[in-house]
């Protein structure tokens, strides 16, 4: 195992990330030494915890371009997403919500729950490039629209939505605009004021902080009913003893990610280097817009094979990657994101998602390219679809 560990190549950073050493170092004192409850303002240990919490909040706020009291910490991206949507739905009259077809399940399943309660949802198309068109949003708006929620960057294909343009339309119609920025934060330069969004969610474990911490930006003046009630922490908006160490970790991780944005070229170059190699595999394609996507993301389909087997063969070679394919989760449906691009089922099934971090290297890309090529070939040799294709070719 220790041998295998050493060789592991992790390219599934859209699923989660390794907690960075500096982040662990930053958070440990808040478990071992400054472990006080930030609500215990009457003694040193509590005040120190509170001061650290508020300093971190200030840091996160500055990094996102907002005021400290517009940042509320949550247990992660999913809670923030649920809160933004349910909190708006329950605080507002009106029944109509607009979203896109390629949102994360934290959005879509929250909307499903609202639909059962009588809300109506319009799903904006993303065409074959995976990007929403602002004019479609304009057309979808109704009298009773109470929320527009479109993700910033997609978790599977990495496409970046025109949030600024979408938010502007929302503002024109005085409809709150929320963006799930879990995949975008730390990867794109973000200033919430310039973006013009009313709410924005983020998650620590996607940017080298631990799992179980996230945040919701709530622009001053936005009305939101509470999801979690209790001791009145987070200025009464989100109760529960604050995860101080987690917040410290989140701030540290975000600070590092934003600092790294300046030399982000590197990750993009790695990705392009790998893409150039993989696209040489016959009957392969890149899913989603080539330009308007995260530098970290590569999503490809290889015809005639199914993604799960591909990922398993890569795992056998120490590579951790993912697929949006049917059998990859307990559901048997192929990814709704790839389906939304209009891809036929068989192409959705054979998808591979590589999501990089700054820790990856060119050597790793070489190795990945070699192993993917090998694995695709191997699976094709077993595939009746490939057999059929070859026979068709021969008979031409």
């Amino acid at each position: 195992m220790s041998d295998k560990e050493k060789k592991l190549i992790y390219v599934d950073n859209a699923a989660t990330t390794k907690v960075s050493k500096s982040v662990i170092e930053a958070m440990l004192p808040y478990m071992e030494t400054y472990y006080g409850n930030p609500s215990s303002q009457l003694y040193s240990l509590g005040r120190e915890a509170k001061a650290a919490l508020e300093k971190a909040r200030q840091g996160v706020a500055e990094l996102l371009g907002c005021d400290a009291n517009e940042i509320i910490f949550t247990s992660g991206g999913t809670e923030a997403d649920n809160w933004a949507i349910k909190g708006t739905a329950y605080a507002t009259k009106g029944r109509h919500i607009i979203t896109s077809k390629i949102e994360h399940h934290a959005i879509l399943h929250t909307l499903d729950a609202l639909i059962k309660q009588g809300f109506e949802v319009t799903y904006l198309d993303v065409y074959d490039n995976g990007i929403v068109r602002p004019e479609d949003l304009e057309k979808a708006i109704r009298e009773d629209t109470i929320l527009i929620t479109v993700m910033y960057a997609n978790n599977e294909i990495g496409t970046i939505q025109p949030i600024k343009a979408l938010a502007e339309i929302a503002r024109k119609h005085k409809i709150p605009f929320f963006t799930d920025a879990v995949q975008a934060v730390g990867k794109l330069p973000i200033n919430v004021k310039e973006l013009g969004v009313d709410m924005l969610s983020l998650s620590g474990h996607k940017i080298h902080a631990p799992k179980g911490i996230g945040a919701l930006y709530i622009r001053k003046g936005v009305r939101l009913s509470n999801l979690i009630e209790g001791g009145g922490q987070e200025r009464g908006k989100r109760s529960g003893t604050e995860n101080v160490a987690g917040v410290i970790a989140l701030e540290q991780a975000l600070r590092e990610a934003v600092a790294d944005l300046t030399d982000k070229d590197k990750v993009g170059k790695l990705r392009d280097y790998l893409a150039d190699k993989l696209i040489k595999i016959p009957y392969s394609r890149i899913n989603g817009d080539i330009k308007n996507r995260l530098d970290e993301n590569l999503n490809m389909s290889f015809e005639f094979i199914e993604g799960e087997g591909l990922i398993m063969l890569l795992d056998m070679n120490g590579i951790c990657a993912s697929t949006g394919s049917a059998c990859s989760t307990s559901s048997l449906e192929p990814s709704h994101v790839l389906r939304a691009l209009g891809l036929p089922h068989e192409i959705c099934h054979g998808s591979l998602r590589i999501s990089l971090s700054a820790d990856n290297t060119f050597e790793e890309m070489d190795y990945i390219a070699e192993k993917v090529t090998w694995a695709v070939n191997r699976l094709r040799m077993m595939s009746p679809l490939y057999e059929r294709k070859l026979k068709e070719e021969r008979s031409k």
């Binding site: 199914e306 087997g309 059998c327 307990s330 048997l332 089922h345 595939s383 009746p384």
Partner: protein, 143 residues
């Protein structure tokens, strides 16, 4: 999530390939559902002397194909007809719940290949007819 047996049969599947002029060929599933299994049989004196498969599908689909072909190789046609998805699952030391359908597919692929053989030699194949629907959607859980 997978047993070692499944991983074994996925990593080193037995009986991959085609048989030219096979005595029976069966293909079930479809690309939409993410699984297609094709089985080729070579039969002499009602004995399955050779069997090969090609499968488009997940790891479990490949492993069940491998195991199913292994289980009927050398067997008489009458014995092979009795292959159940349960037998395949057991031989593989179990399958995760969402993968049970793969074993069903494997059973059906074997039956489809046998039905093809029956048809070729003029034997009644009506009790070998298989559900042609998409296994994900047909929703009747075997097992």
């Amino acid at each position: 999530m997978y047993s070692e047996k499944v991983m074994d049969h996925f990593a080193n599947p037995h009986n991959v390939g085609e048989i030219e002029n096979a005595d029976g060929v069966g293909e079930v599933g479809n690309a939409k559902c993410g699984d297609i299994m094709k089985i080729y049989l070579k039969i002499k004196d009602d004995i399955i002397v050779d069997v090969k498969f090609k499968t488009f599908g997940c790891g479990a689909a490949i492993a069940t194909s491998s195991m199913a072909t292994e289980l009927i190789k050398g067997k008489s046609v009458n014995e092979a007809v009795k292959l159940t998805n349960k037998a395949v699952i057991e031989a593989l030391d179990g399958l995760p719940a969402p993968k049970i359908h793969c074993s069903v597919l494997a059973e059906e692929a074997v039956k489809a290949a046998l039905a093809d053989y029956y048809k070729k030699i003029g034997r009644d194949a009506s009790d070998l007819m298989v559900c042609e629907g998409c296994c994900g959607s047909c929703d009747h859980h075997h097992e």
